[in-house]
């Protein structure tokens, strides 16, 4: 079992409040990502779960047991650090053995030389060796076992750090931005490896990242944190399609969601620029923010009441997609539109274009940034 519950967790350093009354329930076997911009308190939250940091108030429950007073080494969690934190003086094998040696051997057996006289030590050593071999085979680091961390590349160190966490089958894995020190290609590759690892281990993963792409690709659920508040906790698809607030919508998704200033009239009908959405908001007679993702806008030849025009300021060609940064004519906004290369390759910087929205995809937010629903009528 590996459920973790956080109940009303708050944390402040002096007068700075970094975590604000958070409630999270992490299910057994789940891959939960804590995602948010730098300084949002996600690492602090992870360290509170680990027991490396003490919360100011609130409870941490692991498998329904309150562990507020249990120190990190006794919570039976494993952590992968951003810097890997491998023991530089020990070989990879010894690094992997360390958590097992510290837990399985008793104090006498850990003594140098005379510890070997303990009758039970030989058996334990064998089981440790087996576990280390098994883990290193899973992670394909068997041929590195006799090297020291200093002789490994970043990706190899990352695997060793994972191995050190895996080797003793903990209740849950805590990972603090484990991929952020890798180069871009390896990072993308490790995403899929981590997901596979999670599928085969079926252990709870709590994963901290500032990279929304990692959160979207790997997690079963993601928790979006901003400024010490938990804004939304849901599946990646739901967070992307149905953000609860403007900040979440802006944080998740790359390139960023486009925000237009709009209004709703007395009947609740929403419009922005010259476009009428022909749908009604639940809040009438007010100013609204209208969010439309770049892939829900398209460049078109038509010019009618459903389109608006602008000038291409910058063309970002990614091969599979081209993103156009467009200045809208009234000068209020700079937006990003996705175009498919086969239709838009001839459009260059400075050309003026008409933009059409894909219907039913707009998101409404009120003045304070909270989500506003459309009424079905």
């Amino acid at each position: 079992m590996g459920t973790i519950s956080l109940k009303n967790i708050s944390k402040s350093f002096g007068s700075t409040q970094v975590l604000n009354n958070l409630n999270v329930d992490i299910n057994d076997g789940e891959f939960l990502t804590l995602v948010g911009p730098s300084g949002c308190g996600k690492s602090t939250l992870l360290r509170i779960i680990a027991g490396l940091e003490q919360q100011t108030s609130g409870d941490v429950l692991i498998d329904n047991k309150n562990v507020n007073r249990v120190r990190a080494s006794e919570r039976d969690l494993a952590m992968v650090f951003q810097s890997y934190a491998l023991y530089p003086h020990l070989t990879v094998r010894r690094n992997l053995e360390t958590p097992l040696r510290l837990r399985d051997y008793n104090a006498f057996e850990r003594l140098p030389l005379i510890g070997n006289f303990s009758p039970s030590k030989k058996e334990k050593t064998e089981s440790i060796n087996q576990l280390v071999n098994k883990t290193s085979e899973t992670l394909k680091i068997s041929e590195l076992l006799d090297r020291k961390p200093g002789q490994l590349s970043g990706g190899q160190r990352q695997r060793v750090a994972l191995g050190r966490a895996m080797v003793r089958e903990p209740v849950a894995f805590l990972m603090d931005e484990p991929l952020s020190n890798l180069d871009a290609a390896l990072r993308v590759h490790m995403r899929s490896e981590l997901s596979e690892l999670h599928n085969s281990l079926k252990t709870t993963f709590v994963y901290v990242t500032h990279d929304q792409a990692e959160a979207l690709t790997m997690s079963s659920r993601m928790a979006v944190m901003i400024d010490g508040n938990l804004l939304q906790l849901d599946t990646p698809q739901e967070v992307y399609d149905n953000p609860s607030s403007l900040s979440v919508a802006q944080f998740v998704g790359s390139p960023k969601i486009n925000i237009f200033k709009g209004t709703s009239d007395s009947s609740g009908t929403v419009s922005f620029l010259n476009v009428n959405l022909k749908r009604k908001s639940s809040e009438s007679n007010t100013d609204l923010h209208i969010g439309i993702r770049p892939e829900h806008l398209e460049i078109t030849n038509e010019s009618n009441e459903n389109t608006f025009s602008g000038t291409v300021a910058y063309r970002e060609n990614l091969g599979s997609d081209i993103f156009f940064h467009v200045n809208i004519e009234d000068g209020s906004n700079k937006i990003i539109v996705r175009g498919l290369p086969q239709f838009t390759h001839q459009i260059s910087n400075g050309s003026s274009v008409n933009i059409k929205r894909v219907s039913d995809k707009a998101l409404l937010f009120n003045q304070v940034g909270m989500r506003v629903q459309f009424t079905n009528a």
Binding site: L52, A72, M79, P88, H89, T98, R110, K148, G150
Partner: protein, 318 residues
């Protein structure tokens, strides 16, 4: 490019200086050690290994080697361990660490000469504060603690403290007594050296990444001792190598305290090498024997340095 001679101009001043003030005197001393030359003599004769033969057979020089060895073997480990302990204690303090740092570092900064004179007064058999402190403590807590009466196998009537109290305050004469002089000098040596070691270790401790301790904690290293074994001690390896090398060379060079406090006595128990060189070559004008001692001294230092450079260094850098 490769044929340019410019580099010679850059290194020449350093090389010339090194030859004049370091290498040439060294070879000169080596040469003199095989003669009977004394400063001022117009002639000399080659005497082969006679000076060295004296050194290893005459009692004085055997005592010299003993005194030096005792001093180094006692002062180096104790001052290194104390320095490490003090550094770890200070590192764990939230406030007040600066005051302790200053106090412990004072002996390193202070003039050795003045400090030695202060120690001379402190340890004076009749006027010194140490012995008056001990005398006033007869029959009290001080006797219980310093006389080791708290150890089960020490007879409270027979301990050194009780005996001294009974014999009309016959406390040790510290620097003037054969069986205490070298230990007293060692104590002063430790007092001087450990502050410096502490500062070096403090620097070493701050460079250990905090995440390693957290990793150790997650891996199940519960006790401070386990964390010390797993993280602190190995990570301090390079610092320890440096500290041990520096301290060893400095203790080999001990001179000031000996010159002021004991002059090598009583009966040569504190006759360390540096003092012997000074006494023979300068005071008694026996240049050749002084040169021989110097050569042996340099030999010791060289062996030590090579050992540290080639044997230990490989084990502490990862």
């Amino acid at each position: 490019m490769h044929n340019s001679k410019a580099h010679i101009w850059f290194i020449a001043p350093a090389i010339i200086l090194m030859i004049i003030i370091l290498i040439f005197p060294l070879f000169l001393a080596g040469g003199i050690s095989f003669t009977d030359y004394n400063l001022g003599n117009k002639t000399f004769e080659w005497v082969g290994l006679e000076n060295y033969d004296k050194m290893f057979n005459r009692k004085t020089y055997v005592k010299m080697i003993w005194a030096t060895a005792t001093y180094v073997i006692v002062v180096v480990p104790i001052s290194v361990v104390l320095g490490l302990c003090a550094a770890m204690l200070l590192n764990s303090l939230r406030f007040g660490a600066d005051i302790y740092k200053t106090i412990f570092f004072l002996p390193v900064m202070a003039t050795l000469l003045a400090m030695a004179i202060a120690w001379e007064f402190t340890l004076h058999p009749t006027l010194g504060i140490v012995n008056s402190f001990l005398a006033n403590g007869c029959g009290g807590v001080r006797e219980f603690i310093l006389g080791f009466h708290w150890l089960p196998w020490v007879d409270s009537q027979e301990s050194w403290y009780a005996v001294a109290c009974a014999n009309n305050m016959d406390f040790p004469y510290w620097l003037k007594q054969k069986n205490t002089a070298i230990w007293t000098v060692c104590f002063i040596g430790i007092w001087q050296a450990f502050g410096f070691n502490m500062v070096l270790y403090l620097a070493g401790l701050t460079s250990i990444p905090r995440e390693l301790y957290q990793a150790a904690e997650m891996d199940g290293a519960k006790s401070t001792w386990e964390q010390f074994k797993l993280v602190t001690w190995p990570m301090l390896g390079p610092t320890t190598l440096f500290v041990v090398t520096i301290t060893t060379i400095r203790t080999f060079q001990v001179f000031d305290t000996i010159e002021i406090l004991t002059k090598g006595g009583p009966s040569k128990t504190t006759y360390v090498m540096m003092y012997a060189i000074f006494e023979k070559a300068i005071q008694q004008n026996l240049t050749s024997i002084g040169a021989a001692i110097t050569v042996v001294f340099i030999g010791f230092i060289l062996v030590l340095t090579f050992f540290q450079r080639y044997v230990i260094e490989k084990r502490v850098h990862y």
